[in-house]
């Protein structure tokens, strides 16, 4: 028995001076945590770009990771409401409970758009706090990275300076990149587009693209054929240049409408890992812009 306990203890991670365990709900926050944390953090991404962040199973593996986390970074604004509360409840980790320094909702650090005037389920899967897909506007990441670097410094004081240095470096590189993206995206301004779900509202607002149609009849509700036909008719009156969807969303509705309207359907990576080139945050926007520019002549 004693030997069994000894073996069991050996199996537990020896964690007194190990890297900070970061649990990121979405790949974009995992990537940002890697930018700011470098070797001082060990990052676990709970979801991939091919999964719908609204609908994730509260899997045992996620509870196990939540149990070991020193810092949890999620979007908030009810994006993870279907699974994150279960993980927080089941993991028994007091460091990362809401209200603790180890719990971060990035949506709290930026201003949200699409906030519904009235909240009722007859309007579909609405988010009372606003549209949670904030990372699609790179300017939001400036604010979030600064706040996140400060938070990392707060919960891991011995490495505070390293986080600040990486934060400043990221900030400088990110600002340069934003300038580059904005000048490249000039031809996209005022182009009309149709979107499958309101996943890109921030991106469109940043680049000045106009959203003229949404394929989902209500947020989170799968489009039916009759509804798509209505959207197609609507597009004849107000044409769009392209149909946008995220990689995790089904290709069928966007492809169907694109064929019907004779415009390209574009699958944007949406987040880090959504395409080969979107291997980090910089690649994500490089690839997104390339795809948009290619579709809009």
């Amino acid at each position: 028995m004693k030997r069994l306990i000894g073996l069991f203890l050996l199996w537990l991670p020896l964690s007194s001076h190990a890297a900070l365990n970061v649990f990121a709900c979405e790949p974009e926050w995992a990537s940002l945590a890697r930018e700011l944390g470098g070797d001082d953090v060990r990052v676990y991404a709970a979801t991939t770009a091919f999964q719908d962040p609204h609908r994730i199973e509260a899997r045992p593996s996620l509870i196990a990771q939540m149990r070991r986390a020193d810092l949890v970074i999620c979007t908030g604004a009810e994006l993870e409401i279907g699974w994150l509360p279960v993980l927080l409840r089941e993991a028994g980790n007091s460091r990362v409970q809401p209200g603790q320094p180890g719990y971060v909702e990035t949506a709290k650090w930026v201003a949200l758009i699409d906030k519904p005037a009235q909240v009722d389920r007859s309007a579909g899967d609405v988010h009372a706090e606003g549209n949670p897909h904030i990372h699609t506007d790179p300017r939001n990441l400036l604010r979030i990275s600064a706040a996140l670097a400060a938070r990392l410094a707060e919960i891991d004081p011995p490495n505070a300076q390293a986080y600040q240095k990486r934060g400043q470096s990221f900030d400088a590189r990110w600002r340069t990149a934003i300038t580059r993206w904005e000048s490249r995206a000039a031809p996209l301004r005022n182009q009309p587009v149709a979107v499958q779900h309101k996943s890109f509202s921030y991106l469109l607002r940043w680049l000045g693209l106009r959203e003229v149609a949404v394929l989902e009849p209500q947020p989170g509700v799968e489009p039916s054929v009759t509804h798509l036909a209505r959207v197609a008719a609507q597009l004849q009156a107000t044409p769009a240049r392209m149909v946008l969807r995220a990689t995790y969303q089904s290709a069928r509705p966007a492809d169907w409408l694109a064929r019907r309207a004779g415009i390209p359907a574009v699958a944007l990576p949406y987040t880090v890992g959504g395409s080969d080139r979107a291997s980090d945050l910089f690649g994500l926007f490089d690839d997104t812009l390339d795809l948009l520019l290619k579709a809009a002549p």
């Binding site: 991939t48 199973e57 409840r89 758009i113 600064a146 600040q164």
Partner: protein, 441 residues
């Protein structure tokens, strides 16, 4: 905030000249604190700078005054509406052959009926714990299904739950009927607990800090519900132990398995069964009841994205041993006939549910019970011992217009009673109003 630093400085001033190692350590600590705080101040400064530099947002910063400010601290409330149409044979009391009836289980109603309406409230109580309340309403009956608090601040993977709660044993046990994948309960849980095992008591749970999900739980409770009975005594009337193990295989597969043990006692636990002449007799059981359970759940979704298609497989097995005395009244038993009682019974169910396209799921479930060995002692002359294995096949198709509503059609071939070979149809709806909480794996 700066108190330790001031304290350290004061101590440094109070004991100046001696170059002792403690002092050196204190100085080092002080220096370390100073650099840490400087870094934090820098961080805050840069945060302010960046906030100023970042482009102003269109969404107005000033939020409109919240009219419902007084309600902000109200608990989350949700209401579950459930109802059905059942097409069943007229067989009177539905007793599963070879097994003692578990509690006052409601019989399924023929024709149209409304199931329990569930009212659920939950909220954080304070930074230290959260509370949950679930009430089931049906006609003149109101029952408190769950009413508990659970700690959230203990850390180290430990949590304590207290009050009335559904036990953590097995897999399906913690799920309320609205979260079941079929219109009715599986036969295993029906013979074990009626619906599910609920208890008034305490639960201690620990999640291990390992890569693989590993969880242990222990419960002590009143033990008033079947297979125990309320014995109106101090101390714990029932004990539950359970362990879970789970993880992922690649990005598309995830699983959880578990073993549970329930030990309780009964005193004059009432039951109604048929004697050898098919006459109704009333039994009272006094003795020990021990149940072992094993469960396995396997889920699949392409790339882990369950939105389009997903598949889940769940199976549970039990083995229950009861020893003690059984008395029976009426029928062949006459005024009262006491005898030894000794049973070892087992059973299992296995179910598969497949979402083949958004909104649509289909599922199949197989139930199988083994009455095992039953010894009524002196009452063997009065009471029947069955060796028929009750079985049932169920097939369902459900459609969910949204995450908050579901309509289900189910057909079952039920052979759970001797002489019965019944085709059953159910058409059921489950609607969830309000802020419906997340479901477990």
């Amino acid at each position: 905030m700066f108190r330790p630093a001031i304290l350290a400085a004061a101590m440094a001033a109070a004991f100046p000249a001696h170059a002792n190692p403690e002092l050196a350590a204190l100085r080092a600590e002080l220096k370390e604190m100073r650099t840490a705080y400087e870094a934090r101040i820098q961080a805050l400064e840069s945060k302010i700078q960046q906030a100023e530099a970042a482009p102003p947002s269109q969404a107005a910063r000033a939020q409109p005054a919240d009219a419902a400010a007084g309600n902000r601290f109200n608990p989350d409330i949700s209401l579950i509406l459930q109802g059905r149409y059942s097409q069943l044979d007229n067989v009177g009391e539905r007793r599963i052959t070879g097994f003692m009836p578990a509690g006052d289980h409601d019989d399924v109603t023929r024709g149209f009926s409304v199931d329990h309406t569930e009212l659920v409230m939950s909220a954080n109580i304070d930074p230290y714990s959260r509370g949950y309340f679930n009430m089931a309403l049906k006609d003149e009956k109101v029952s408190v299904e769950e009413a508990w608090f659970q700690t959230s601040h203990l850390g180290h993977g430990v949590s304590i739950k207290g009050g009335r709660f559904l036990s953590g044993l097995g897999y399906q046990n913690e799920k309320h009927p609205h979260a079941w994948d079929f219109a009715d309960n599986n036969l295993m849980y029906r013979v074990l607990f009626g619906e599910g095992y609920g208890n008034d008591g305490l639960q201690l749970k620990w999640v291990a800090p390992t890569e693989l999900f590993l969880e242990f739980g222990a419960e002590a409770g009143r033990g008033a519900s079947f297979p125990g009975s309320d014995r109106k005594k101090n101390g714990a009337g029932s004990r539950v132990l359970f362990g879970h193990l789970g993880g992922d295989v690649g990005t598309s597969h995830s699983w959880r398995s578990g073993v549970s043990f329930l030990q309780t006692k009964a005193s004059d636990r009432k039951g109604e069964i048929l004697d050898l002449d098919d006459a109704e007799v009333e039994t009272k059981f006094t003795g020990d009841s021990e149940t072992w359970m094993a469960d396995l759940v396997w889920k699949w979704a392409p790339d882990g994205n369950a939105r389009e298609r997903n598949f889940s497989l769940a199976t549970e097995y039990f083995r229950r041993k009861e020893t003690g005395l059984l008395s029976c009244e009426n029928g062949r038993c006459g005024a009262a006939s006491k005898g030894d009682y000794r049973t070892t019974q087992s059973g299992y169910y296995a179910q598969a549910v497949y979402q083949f396209m958004p909104r649509w799921r289909t599922g199949y479930r197989y139930d199988h019970l083994n009455p095992g060995s039953v010894d009524f002692g002196a009452n063997n002359a009065n009471l029947p011992v069955s060796n028929a294995h009750p079985t049932r096949h169920s097939l369902m198709l459900d459609y969910s217009p949204s995450e908050f509503s579901r309509v289900r059609l189910q057909y079952a071939k039920d052979r759970s009673m001797t002489g019965l070979n019944e085709g059953q149809w159910f058409l059921q709806y489950v609607h969830s109003l309000g802020s419906h909480g997340a479901h477990k794996f």
